[in-house]
Amino acid sequence: MIRDPKDLKRYTASERANHWVVGISFILLALSGLAFFHPAFFPLTQLFGGPVWARIIHPYLGVLMAVSFLGLFIRFRHLNKMTPADKEWLSKAKQMVDGDDHNMPEQGKYNGGQKVMFWALAVCMLLMTVSGIFIWRAWFGFDITLVRLGAVVHAAAGAVMIGLIMVHVYAAIWVKGTIRAMWYGTVTRAWAKQHHRGWYRQVTGK
């Protein structure tokens, strides 16, 4: 477990733990939720001990995710305020995706794309929670129009959220040296200087 003592701390242990509670509940929710959405995914219910168990467990996992997501939201909302530099970053995001980040403006702890991701996920999570309550028949019985609306919103926001998380995961895979920040909390100085120079200056004083 010897690592470079000069590595930079990006996430605390409790932030990481919180992230993974959200992550695990999200994966389980996505797998069981897709099963109820399209017949092609129905066999995924076998991962949960059969379709009836999948139906019973899914909403409770939803509660777990909503609560733990709220934790992440409170922790990180201040770091995700949009700035003019973020808008500039976003307008140049295509160049970055194409593999050229030389023109990207300097970024703090999070870049414009990460901030958009943060707020988009927060909106989806809110929609998922409210619509999920509308369609949770084991505990609630809402007016049929609300239930129908809830079903549509839940499916749509769920699909968007799965797409967003795919992008989130892929971004972490694409940008080398990123995933370790969520495993054990540190990144190399070079990584920070490359991708988040503003944050690098702030934490190193350079």
Partner: protein, 298 residues
């Protein structure tokens, strides 16, 4: 009611065609509201044939008993007192599953084979495949399916699919003392209804007509109504029922569209990585940091 030797037209949560080489005659139950005396023999026959016994409820001061459909009461008489042409009328409608040609329940159901539509028109719930999500309730335009509080399965009228399979009329039709419940091919039932409607018109009910709503592709339980222009009089029978556009959106084109979009994001990511390569820290910056470290060490 699984394992019946009936031919299948549609199966819930199934994207490939069901076996459909054989075609059966479309059947229908015709409920002549004008001939119903509200004796509830049909309710009793339904309980008896299907071996369901609802809990004995309490008197609510009206004739409706039980007050609503439940997982154990698959049909109930709904009594409405209305005034038409300055006369009091007592309208009694036998409520239950309408067996739609375009069933909202089946469309919404996520469990393969939990809801089956036979080629004779019967829409049947197969409880052993039901997962208890209640999507059928969300999909039904007539508010018919009920989720059991004890086993979380959905229940409703089967149109006695087990009896029909062996050429018997549904238990309710068999028991009706006034002939208000008729059973036969849908065509014959329409002919019979036309005669009844003719009779009613002669007797002054000039708005008499058949309730076989087109919005759900027609139904396999039809009503003869004396006031077919106002189905709402009959304990809120919907005037123009159809599968809610929200349900069609949800279980219609959103389903393949979202699935394709997600596959697109996944494949797009993979091919981005393969074509553009990973985003690594540049050698320049690595060297910079190394140089700084060496300077500091001096």
């Amino acid at each position: 009611m699984a394992l019946q030797s009936l031919d299948i037209k549609q199966r819930s949560a199934t994207t490939t065609p069901p076996p459909q080489a054989r075609q059966t005659v479309e059947i229908a139950k015709l409920i002549d509201v004008s001939a119903c005396i509200g004796c509830k023999a049909c309710q009793v026959a339904c309980m008896e044939w299907n071996d369901v016994r609802d809990e004995v409820g309490s008197n609510h001061g009206v004739y409706d008993n039980p007050m609503d459909l439940t997982e154990k009461s698959w049909t109930v008489m709904r009594f409405s007192e209305v005034e038409q042409n300055n006369k009091l009328e007592w309208l009694i409608r036998k409520d239950g599953c309408m067996h739609c040609s375009d069933p909202g329940c089946l469309k919404a159901c996520p469990a393969p084979g939990a809801i089956i539509q036979y080629s004779n028109g019967i829409v049947d719930f197969h409880q052993e495949n039901c997962i208890g999500c209640g999507y059928c309730v969300t999909g039904c335009p007539f508010n018919v399916p009920r989720i059991s509080k004890t086993d979380s399965k959905a229940y409703k009228c089967t149109l006695c699919s087990d009896r029909v399979a062996v050429n018997q009329a549904p238990a309710c039709a068999k028991s009706c003392p006034t002939g208000a419940i008729q059973f036969g091919s849908k065509e014959d039932m329409k002919d019979y209804a036309a005669k009844r409607i003719g009779d009613l018109k002669e007797r002054g009910f000039d708005k008499a007509g058949l309730y076989d709503p087109e919005g759900v592709g027609g139904t396999h339980v039809m009503y003869v109504l004396h006031h077919a222009d106002q189905p709402g009089l009959y304990a809120g029978l919907p005037e123009n029922p159809s599968v809610s556009p929200l349900v069609s959106l949800w279980k219609g084109f959103a389903k393949p569209l979202a699935t394709l979009a997600l596959a697109g994001v996944a494949l797009g990511s993979l091919f981005h990585y393969v074509t553009k390569g990973p985003n690594e820290v540049s050698k320049e910056i690595e060297d910079e940091i190394e140089r700084e470290d060496k300077e500091e060490a001096k």
